[in-house]
C-alpha cells in the first residue's frame, strides 16, 4: 500500500516536472528574443553616437519619458535609440512575468497563475506610480 502511494507520487512528480520543463523552455526562448533585440538596438544607438559625435539633443539633455524617447527613435536620434534599447531591456522582466502567467494557465496551475498575475499587477502599478511623480 505504502509503496504504491510512493510510486504514484513519483509519477505525478515526473509529469509535473515535464510540464515545468516545457514551460521553462518557452520562457527562456521568449527572454532570449527580448534580450537580443534590446542589445542590438543599444549597440546601434551607441555606434551612431560615437560615429557622429552627436546625441540628437542639446548638450547635457536627454529624454525622460517613453513617449519622448520613441519620438526621438523614429527620427533616429542616437540618445533616443540607446534609450529605446534600454526601455526594451527594462521591459524584458515584465514581459517574462506576462509569459509566465500564460504558461502557468496553460499548465492549469491556477495557484501560480494567480500569484504571477498579482506580481504583474504590482509591476504595472509601479510603472504608473513612476509616471505620476
Amino acid at each position: 500500500m505504502e509503496k504504491e502511494t510512493d510510486k504514484d507520487l513519483e509519477v505525478k512528480f515526473q509529469k509535473e516536472n515535464e510540464e515545468l520543463r516545457t514551460m521553462e523552455l518557452i520562457i527562456s526562448r521568449a527572454l532570449n528574443i527580448g534580450v537580443t533585440t534590446s542589445a542590438i538596438v543599444i549597440f546601434i544607438g551607441l555606434l551612431m553616437l560615437l560615429l557622429t559625435g552627436k546625441s540628437g539633443y542639446p548638450t547635457g539633455y536627454y529624454p525622460f519619458s517613453p513617449a519622448e524617447i520613441l519620438r526621438g527613435f523614429i527620427v533616429l536620434k542616437p540618445y533616443a535609440v540607446i534609450l529605446t534599447g534600454l526601455l526594451l531591456l527594462i521591459l524584458t522582466p515584465v514581459f517574462r512575468v506576462a509569459v509566465s502567467i500564460i504558461t502557468f494557465l496553460y499548465e492549469k496551475d491556477y495557484l501560480y497563475a494567480g500569484i504571477t498575475t498579482l506580481v504583474f499587477i504590482i509591476l504595472i502599478i509601479s510603472f504608473i506610480l513612476g509616471k505620476v511623480e
Partner: protein, 309 residues
C-alpha cells in the same frame, strides 16, 4: 595610443568593434566619450560575470566603479546600476531557466514581497542624500561579506526540514549539478522568514538602485536552505523583476543617462551570458571564496567615501 592600450585591456567582442571604430574617428569631442564608453563596457562585462555567478545583479560592482573610478555622479550611477541589474538578470535567466537551475515557483512567490518593497524603497530614496546612500551601501556590503564568510565550507545544505507551506505551494524542486554530476533534490524551509526578508530586499533595491540580490541569496540560503546555485539563479531571475518595478521611476526622474547606461547594459549582458557558462562548472564553495574579499574591499571604500574620511 590610448585606444590601443585599451584594446589590449579589453578582450571582448563588443569592445573590440567599438575600439576599431574609435581608431578610425577623427579627433573630436567624442574621443573622451569613446574612452569612457569603453571603460564602462569593460567594467560592466566583469560586473555581468560576477552578477551572473552570484545572483547579485552587477550593481554591486557598477556603482562603485562608476562613482569612485570614473567620478560619475551617484545619481546616474544608480540609474545605470538599475539597468545593470535588469541586464544581469535577463542575460543570466536565459540559461538558468533553460537549464532548470532557477526555481520559477519560488521566484514568483517571493516576487510578491520584493516588488511591493521596491515601490516603497523608490519613494524613500528621494528623501536621502548621496552621503547616506554611500554609508548604507557600504554597511550592506560589509554585512553581506560577513554572512558569506560564515558559510564558506558548505557545498549543499544538509538535514533540511520542509516548511508545511512549501509543500502546499509546491516549492520543492531539483536540478542537475554539473560539478557533482548528479540530480540534486532539495527541500524548502523557512518560508515566512524568506518572504519577510524579500520585502526588505525589495526596499533596498528601490532605495539603493541595486537588486539587493545579496539579500535575496541570503534569505534563500540562510532561511529557506536552498542549494547555493538554486539560490543565486533564482535570485538572478527575481532581481530583474524587482528592478523593473523601480526602473520606471528612475527613468522618469532622469537618472538613466543613455551615455552611461547604454554601455553598462551592453557590457553586462555580454558578461552575464558568459558568467552563466562559468557558474555551472564552479563549486559553490569556490564562488564564495573568490567573492568575499572583493565585497569587503568595496564596502570599505564606500564607507570611507560616505564618511568623508
Amino acid at each position: 595610443m590610448t585606444s590601443i592600450r585599451l584594446l589590449n585591456f579589453a578582450p571582448f567582442k563588443g569592445c573590440v568593434i567599438i575600439v576599431i571604430v574609435a581608431i578610425d574617428l577623427p579627433k573630436t569631442r567624442s574621443d573622451t566619450v569613446v574612452l569612457t564608453s569603453l571603460e564602462i563596457l569593460a567594467f560592466s562585462f566583469v560586473a555581468g560575470i560576477f552578477g551572473a555567478l552570484l545572483g547579485l545583479g552587477g550593481g554591486i560592482i557598477v556603482i562603485p566603479v562608476l562613482t569612485l573610478l570614473l567620478g560619475i555622479d551617484i545619481k546616474y550611477a544608480i540609474g545605470a546600476s538599475i539597468v545593470s541589474v535588469i541586464a544581469t538578470s535577463s542575460g543570466a535567466a536565459v540559461a538558468y531557466v533553460r537549464d532548470n537551475i532557477t526555481n520559477l515557483r519560488i521566484g514568483m512567490f517571493l516576487e510578491i514581497a520584493t516588488t511591493t518593497g521596491a515601490i516603497t524603497g523608490a519613494y524613500i530614496a528621494g528623501l536621502i542624500s548621496s552621503k547616506y546612500l554611500y554609508i548604507i551601501f557600504g554597511l550592506v556590503l560589509l554585512y553581506s561579506a560577513l554572512a558569506m564568510l560564515r558559510k564558506r565550507h558548505e557545498e549543499l545544505p544538509q538535514n533540511v526540514v520542509s516548511h508545511p507551506l512549501a509543500k502546499k505551494l509546491n516549492l520543492e524542486g531539483s536540478y542537475f549539478d554539473k560539478v557533482l554530476n548528479k540530480e540534486v533534490k532539495y527541500k524548502v524551509a523557512g518560508v515566512y522568514e524568506g518572504f519577510g526578508t524579500m520585502y526588505i530586499a525589495g526596499i533596498l533595491s528601490g532605495l539603493l538602485g541595486i537588486g539587493s540580490g545579496i539579500f535575496k541569496v541570503m534569505a534563500m540560503d540562510l532561511f529557506m536552505k536552498l542549494p547555493m546555485k538554486v539560490s543565486t539563479a533564482t535570485s538572478n531571475f527575481m532581481i530583474g523583476v524587482t528592478a523593473a518595478a523601480s526602473a520606471g521611476v528612475y527613468l522618469m526622474r532622469g537618472n538613466i543617462n543613455p551615455e552611461i547606461a547604454g554601455p553598462v547594459a551592453l557590457g553586462v549582458l555580454l558578461g552575464a551570458t558568459f558568467g552563466t557558462k562559468i557558474m555551472q562548472h564552479l563549486k559553490n564553495t569556490t564562488i564564495r571564496k573568490i567573492f568575499i574579499p572583493v565585497l569587503a574591499y568595496i564596502s570599505i571604500q564606500m564607507l570611507i567615501k560616505g564618511l568623508g574620511v
